[in-house]
Symmetry: C2
Subunit: 231 residues, 2 copies
DNA sequence: TTCATACTTTGACGGTAGACGAATTATTCA
DNA sequence: TGAATAATTCGTCTACCGTCAAAGTATGAA
């Protein structure tokens, strides 16, 4: 059976799954990479638990979310970075020409935010460029970034275990295109590890109900001292 | 008014517009970058002209397609590369894990195809890499590729007027990520110009009802002679 | 074992989105 | 000008999708 012949039908199924307002609220809420329970998501979606459950099973059937069962809780999260990226793509289209000419994205999202599970926004792009300038990161098109020996040293110094990071079943690092900046930031396992460190050391604080990240004064100092980046 | 606060609603509107089967057929058909009339698209969508017209006005309202009026014909086409990319993203999600493990994309689409209005597939990626090796193309992340003096000479030799190409109201060249190869090919005005030359000189032939491109034996010879690329 | 909590499944209901044909507008060609 | 073609608008109809309450399952605590 030729799948390609029915590609339009497949696209429409996925898009329809995303296109229902309650389901879109669920997906948008999950874009920060966190997992949430069925009831939490039903509240976000502004529907009853039963309705929420129906929506979630639809999203699961379409492989847009995955679920981890833990006792009587079911934790739902986006199925993977691809899903997050496509949602970003849709939000760019949704922004339309308005966003292109008068960027009215709230500055909190522009300055620093999460992109699925790594750093994005101005800060993400600044770090990306800085690491390149410092020759910590060898960049070869959008795919397969890697750390130079210098870079490896620097990341180890942050407490990131590169052995472990490389073992993860995902791409190590790549240029993830930032829709607000239209320039790449660091995605992949390395980007996720970096965000984790930044959160752990309280360089940035995570907003509970959006993907915005707040930079602390400690964060500012450290960014300058460690990377020479003014935020 | 804070647009970001309603981002989920905006996403859902766009996705719902794409998610209707007839509209998905229309969009998918337009992914080759060509413009088509309302009646043609109604046939593709398998609906009556009146229904097709309603769908098209919805797609226009959501800025997914644009229309050029020429006499009594209305030519519809995708609003821009962003739309095509997002549709590609959706089709990747639609492919699901199957596509990841057993790539069952028909080989005709893998070898060479159009991505909106430029060359993609194995051929597109091969050329991209070759131009880089030859130092014709200076690649700086995904954004803002440019031609080196050598590259400029080579492209002019193909009959491409770079003055004109640079004047177009779109990005000159950039790395466009290829979903079948997971590597970049040349997008933007330069990529479009290259495809135009390849079609004009009959190096590749365009399939009428898909984005597949067939490479002619002349094309093979020229690719080898001019670029040192084996196809 | 029994109660409580988390979540899903089922069934009935209502609103809306998409379908078409007929009528209308717009443009070309004779 | 009038006929022919392209496309849209309008009115009506139907089918499906999302909604919820209630009943059902599963897990954990008392």
């Amino acid at each position: 059976m030729n799948v390609e012949h029915y590609a339009d039908a497949a696209i429409s199924r996925i898009a329809a799954a995303i296109g229902e307002p309650a389901r879109a609220r669920i997906l948008y809420c999950l874009m920060d990479g966190h997992a949430r329970t069925s009831t939490e998501l039903s509240v976000v979606a502004e529907v009853s638990p039963s309705t929420g459950s129906v929506h979630l099973s639809r999203l699961k059937a379409e492989r847009l979310v995955k679920v981890v069962v833990q006792g009587k809780h079911r934790y739902y999260s986006l199925e993977g970075p691809n899903v997050a990226h496509t949602l970003e793509g849709l939000s760019v289209l949704a922004g339309g020409s308005r966003a292109r000419f008068v960027p009215n994205t709230p500055s909190r999202l522009r300055v620093a935010r999460t992109c699925y599970d790594h750093l994005a926004g101005t800060l993400g792009v600044l770090l990306h460029d800085r690491f390149q300038t410092l020759r910590w990161l060898s960049v070869d098109s959008t795919e397969a970034y890697d750390l130079t020996p210098h870079g490896a040293k620097a990341f180890e110094a942050l407490g990131i275990d590169l052995e472990v990071t490389r073992m993860l079943r995902r791409r190590f690092a790549y240029g993830c295109l930032d829709w607000s900046e239209r320039r790449p930031h660091i995605g992949g396992a390395l980007g996720a590890a970096l965000l984790k460190v930044a959160l752990k050391r309280k360089w940035v604080l995570q907003d509970l109900d959006s993907r915005a990240l707040g930079i602390t004064s400690l964060g500012r100092r450290e960014m300058l001292a460690r990377f020479g980046v003014h935020v």
